[in-house]
């Protein structure tokens, strides 16, 4: 998608050393040729921008004309001493440029929606919309498809955070290290192709056959259709309804609601939703409380979703590793897991259906994403090459003996213990027998 830049300079190689060991020189070169546009400069955008700038993307452009006096407090890129009349985009650009001088960081004038013009979009490889309403996401998704620009959207609200990806048609490689029987490792590279569904398809598809109990409630909240058969409720309307509940509470009580005010909120919800003609049963009780604090985002969740989005952006422009297709959902209300959902659900028998999952081109038809991946514990900071030399044959003999004894501990327990046990039992039995006869 992007034109790879020339060779890495020596300085770049020194700074990028650790990440070159993760994704290699080729990906780094592709990254440095990519142009990324980020619209909306809240806490989430700050996280993603920081991540892609550090990674060494060629150019990053920010769009948000909110003055610093009214900025989101979770944007850590805006320093405390910034004059109030600069826009958040400009203030963030200054910090980002200092973070990595190899990246061209710039700000475009105008509000975030100013990017929704084909002429603007065509100058970039990728657009990321941060904390924008659903209507704008839908609009941007259509325009990006027309302009051939990869599209990402991310939203963090209260204890929820999610990201949506639409890379249209995306080619990528997966590199696997395989351990050979003789102990050496070999690299195995496979090429894949994935096609993505549009936002429209992803939020209006049928959920037939989906196990609702294990399905992400957050997706339902995004989609605005909370339970099967309940009245459809668009994201914006839901937000308005929730805000109406919360603001009415604040008017009545003269304070911000807390978790302890559940009953009162519930009563208010019935009342307000009734007035607005919305089915109150559509909203799980707890979600309401979480939204009581709707106005703020949690920096911790910004970091989690922003880190994931950073990874996804790097995968998208680097063309390496399987990207998220097409939702990443993180909700503290659902156990703090980061779930990947593909919607509409791929039909296993019909790969030609719109928005089907990654098809493997070169590999045998073992479907990606169908292979269960076991939990893998990170070995605390031991690199694959962690090493130390064992002393010479006669050095440190007691330690070696202890080491071997420890290794053979199970063998000792299972092989020697029964023998000793039986011998002991026999002698004890003989003794008892003797005593028994004596008396």
């Amino acid at each position: 998608m992007s034109t790879p830049a020339a060779e890495l300079s020596e300085q770049e190689a020194a700074i990028y050393d650790r990440q070159l060991r993760v994704w290699g020189v080729e990906t780094q070169r592709r990254l440095s040729g990519a142009k990324v546009l980020i619209a909306g400069c809240g806490g989430l955008a700050a996280e993603v921008a920081k991540n892609v700038v550090l990674a060494g993307v060629g150019a990053v452009t920010l769009v948000d004309d909110t003055p610093c006096s009214r900025r989101s407090l979770s944007n850590f890129l805006v320093g405390s001493t910034t004059p109030d009349d600069t826009t958040v985009a400009e203030a963030s650009v200054a910090t980002l440029q200092e973070m990595n001088p190899f990246v061209k960081v710039a700000a475009l004038p105008g509000p975030p929606e100013a990017v929704l013009a084909p002429d603007v979009l065509r100058q970039y490889d990728l657009l990321l919309l941060c904390d924008q309403p659903a209507s704008r996401i839908a609009q941007a998704d259509v325009m990006c498809r027309e302009a051939g620009v990869a599209f990402y959207a991310g939203v963090c609200r209260g204890i929820f955070g999610w990201a949506f990806a639409n890379l249209h048609q995306h080619r990528y490689i997966v590199e696997r290290q395989e351990e050979q029987p003789d102990g050496s490792t070999s690299k195995h590279v496979s090429e894949h192709n994935a096609s993505f569904a549009t936002w429209e398809q992803a939020t209006s598809c049928s959920l037939e056959g989906v196990n609702m109990r294990r399905f992400s409630k957050l997706y339902l909240l995004i989609r605005g259709k909370l339970l099967e058969g309940a009245q459809p409720l668009c994201w914006l309307k839901l937000r308005r309804a929730l805000q109406a509940v919360v603001s009415r509470f604040e008017q009545q009580q003269q304070r911000f609601p807390t978790a302890a005010d559940a009953d009162q909120l519930r009563a208010l919800q019935q009342q307000v939703f009734g007035e607005m003609g919305v089915d109150a049963a559509a909203l799980p009780d707890e979600m309401l409380q979480a939204y009581a604090a709707y106005g703020s985002d949690m920096p911790a969740i910004n970091a989690i979703v922003g880190g994931t989005l950073g990874n996804e952006l790097i995968k998208a422009v680097g063309g390496r590793n399987e990207p998220v297709n097409n939702f990443f959902l993180f909700s503290l209300a659902e156990g703090g897991e980061g779930v990947v959902e593909c919607l509409p659900r791929p039909k296993p028998a019909a790969p030609a259906a719109a928005g089907s999952v990654a098809e493997e081109i070169l590999l045998q038809p073992a479907k990606m994403g169908k292979v269960p991946i076991r939990l893998k514990e990170v070995t605390y900071m031991l690199s694959p090459f962690q090493q130390s030399v064992m002393g010479g044959l006669w050095k440190d003999l007691p330690h070696k003996a202890a080491h071997h004894a420890h290794n053979a501990r199970d063998a000792i327990i299972f092989c020697v213990a029964p023998l000793v046990g039986i011998a002991y039992y026999c002698s004890a039995y003989k003794e008892a027998e003797k005593l028994h006869h004596r008396f």
């Binding site: 650790r18 949690m298 994931t308 399987e322 990170v378 690199s383 090493q387 010479g392 008396f439």
Partner: protein, 647 residues
């Protein structure tokens, strides 16, 4: 569960939310995450961030943004260029400065109203003792090595401070919570130890690239430039140590002095002599030991003259510096030779040229380091030398060669690291810290970051229970406050060990000092003990029992083991603590007192003088209390049955 409790227990008026007592309330997680009550707690607590590196930078940022106001940070390291790709609080101009100080300064810029203290130091230092840790409500780890993690784990256990532990490598990462008595401690699960290679494989029969790299780094490098005794390359085992080994090593062992530069020998000449010695003489010696090569391919010696780079072959085009033996000032052999791509694999000629040039450059340009040089992954010349030496050896043994970049990673134990993983992990750490503040211990979890393509990029597992077999956390630990200058050993034994801990025949040791009681002691031991008992604790032999000493107490008869961490206090208030000591911690309550059941049932005892079982599950406490009883019964049972012969 926790949520129901809060919801049903009515509502506290908002203006009294941050009074002292309320900080013990269990909040409804996750709904409280954005609530005012938790926000207030976040502002009030004091947290310790250990490490200001990859995870540390992200963590400090996330903490400050989340509203944490009182933060302390410890880090020993200084900033390096290769940190700048992910440790985003640092700039190029900061290279060489303390990570902790620069990071603290940077986050202070983000939120000037925070109170942050930075320490540049090793967490193993004595100033970071149990008392230091006890000041915090929560300890958050962003470390890069196992030793420091273990140390912090033990201190947190001793100080009874909850610990959030984390680690990342490439795209993978994990965050876990360790609360004493409630979840497993960091050392409950065995941790992988570093990989070791048998020295004979390295010396005689390497078969992987890493063997050659370790040989070059650990054996050859110290032999040429460092302290020769640090190398195992020329070591000979003592005589009569088995026939095979002796036969093998008689050939291999050689005089270390041949690796020293002779009087008047030029550096270029020395390099060539080393090349011939290592890759021709030694390889041929090995090849002659036919026992080794029955099932392996024998090594091939290298011929230096055949490997000279064409340009240098006749010596005509050789750089003047090499010919004339002029002291070289260049720091890189590759640059001189025009090998700029760190990712390409050199051929044998290039390897030979780099080896010769690097040895010569080291001898000429850095003669002051000779005899004490140590391998450092950021030392370009050393990495070049190791790469070339390892590759030449790999050629001899028919192993694949590695690029400079790869070799640097292997020799330097470099951990793959990217900013995104650290950011996600920092978010997960702060989420866990907020759960701890909400006192919602049941929702604490271990989170794992998974490789891309997984159905769950962040997966979870509820925090496991502590392992009873853990050497670190299952041994009871307690804090013993006393005046070490006043209290005698006799008082310690009678009042604390026998009176409070209900030991029958206590034995104790502290450093080199030990004391034992019970049957079967010799006459002279009893007289020695009598003298010792009268001494104040601080004057006992072996440095005495003083502030921060760890007193190991055990009672063989009860199978009881505990560690008492001594806190010395001079200004002792006899009225408040008439017994002359104060004991806190998770030890089982004294058995001599009839109120064992009472002590268990009233868990959160406000009177700390009573051995408290606060915040423990009833079941755990009961089990701990019951342990000595059960043991004693079992002993009685045994003696009974042994006295009564079967008829």
């Amino acid at each position: 569960m926790g949520r129901d409790k809060t919801l049903s227990s009515g509502t506290a008026p908002p203006d009294t939310l941050h009074t002292a007592g309320s900080s013990q309330d269990v909040l409804a997680w996750p709904w409280a995450a954005t609530g005012e009550e938790l926000k207030q707690r976040v502002q009030d607590v004091k947290v310790l961030a250990v490490g200001a590196g990859g995870i540390g930078c992200e963590l400090l940022k996330t903490l400050v943004m989340s509203g944490f106001k009182h933060i302390e940070v410890v880090d020993l390291d200084t900033i390096e260029t290769s940190n700048l790709n992910r440790q985003f609080l640092f700039r190029k101009r900061h290279v060489g400065k303390s990570k902790a100080l620069v990071a603290a300064e940077a986050v202070k810029q983000m939120r000037p109203d925070i109170d942050i203290t930075a320490y540049q130091g090793n967490v193993n230092e004595s100033r970071f003792d149990v008392d230091f840790f006890r000041r915090f409500d929560c300890v958050l780890n962003g470390l890069d090595n196992l030793e420091a993690r273990r140390h912090i784990n033990r201190l947190c256990l001793a100080a009874e401070v909850p610990l959030v532990e984390s680690g990342t490598a490439g795209y993978l990462g994990q965050v876990s919570v360790h609360i004493k008595g409630r979840t497993e401690c960091f050392e409950c699960q065995p941790k992988p130890t570093s990989k070791t290679f048998p020295v004979c494989t390295l010396r005689n029969t390497p078969d992987k690239p890493i063997h050659c790299v370790v040989w070059a780094k650990e054996m050859l490098f110290p032999l040429l430039f460092g302290a020769p005794e640090a190398s195992d390359l020329h070591e000979a085992p003592p005589a009569g140590s088995g026939i095979d080994a002796a036969a093998v090593t008689r050939n291999i062992a050689d005089d270390p002095s041949c690796y020293q530069r002779a009087e008047g020998e030029s550096s270029t000449h020395f390099a060539e002599r080393m090349f011939r010695h290592l890759y021709c003489t030694k390889i041929n010696e090995l090849r002659n030991m036919e026992d080794l090569w029955r099932s392996r391919r024998p090594p091939q010696a290298l011929d230096l003259d055949a490997l000279r780079m064409p340009a240098y072959g006749d010596g005509g085009d050789q750089p003047a510096a090499i010919e004339a033996g002029v002291p070289a000032t260049a720091s890189s052999a590759c640059k001189e030779l025009g090998l700029s791509d760190a990712h390409s694999v050199w051929n044998d000629q290039q390897n030979a040229a780099v080896f010769l040039r690097a040895v010569a450059l080291f001898l000429d340009g850095r003669s002051h380091e000779l005899g004490s040089a140590q391998f450092d992954k950021d030392d370009l010349l050393a990495v070049e030398l190791v790469t070339a030496a390892a590759n030449l050896r790999a050629t001899c043994f028919g192993i694949s060669r590695q690029s400079l970049f790869e070799t640097k990673g292997m020799a330097g134990n470099i951990i793959h690291a990217i900013a995104t993983t650290n950011a996600i992990v920092s978010g997960l750490i702060v989420v866990e810290a907020m759960k701890l503040l909400a006192r919602s211990f049941a929702s604490c979890q271990t989170s794992f970051l998974q490789v891309s393509g997984s159905k769950r990029l962040v997966s979870r597992m509820s925090a496991p229970e502590p392992s009873a077999a853990c050497m670190v956390c299952s041994t009871a630990q307690a804090r013993l406050v006393l005046n070490a200058n006043k209290m005698s050993l006799q008082q310690l034994v009678d009042k604390v060990l026998k009176g409070r801990l209900a030991l029958i025949a206590p034995s104790l040791w502290c450093g080199t000092f030990s004391y034992e009681e019970g049957e079967g002691l010799e006459e002279d031991e009893i007289t020695r003990n009598r003298k010792l008992l009268l001494l104040p604790l601080a004057q006992l032999p072996g440095g005495g029992v003083v502030h921060n000493s760890i007193l190991h107490v055990d009672d063989q008869e009860q199978c009881f083991k505990a560690q008492l961490i001594i806190t010395h206090r001079e200004d002792w208030d006899d009225e408040q603590h008439p017994e002359g000591f104060y004991l806190g911690g998770d030890l089982p309550p004294a058995l001599t007192e009839p109120s064992v059941e009472a002590a268990i049932s009233e868990t959160a005892s406000p009177n700390e003088d009573v051995v408290s079982l606060t915040s423990d599950d009833d079941g755990v406490a009961a089990e701990a209390a019951a342990r000595p009883v059960a043991k004693r019964k079992a002993i009685e049972g045994n003696t009974d049955s042994s006295k009564r012969p079967r008829t």
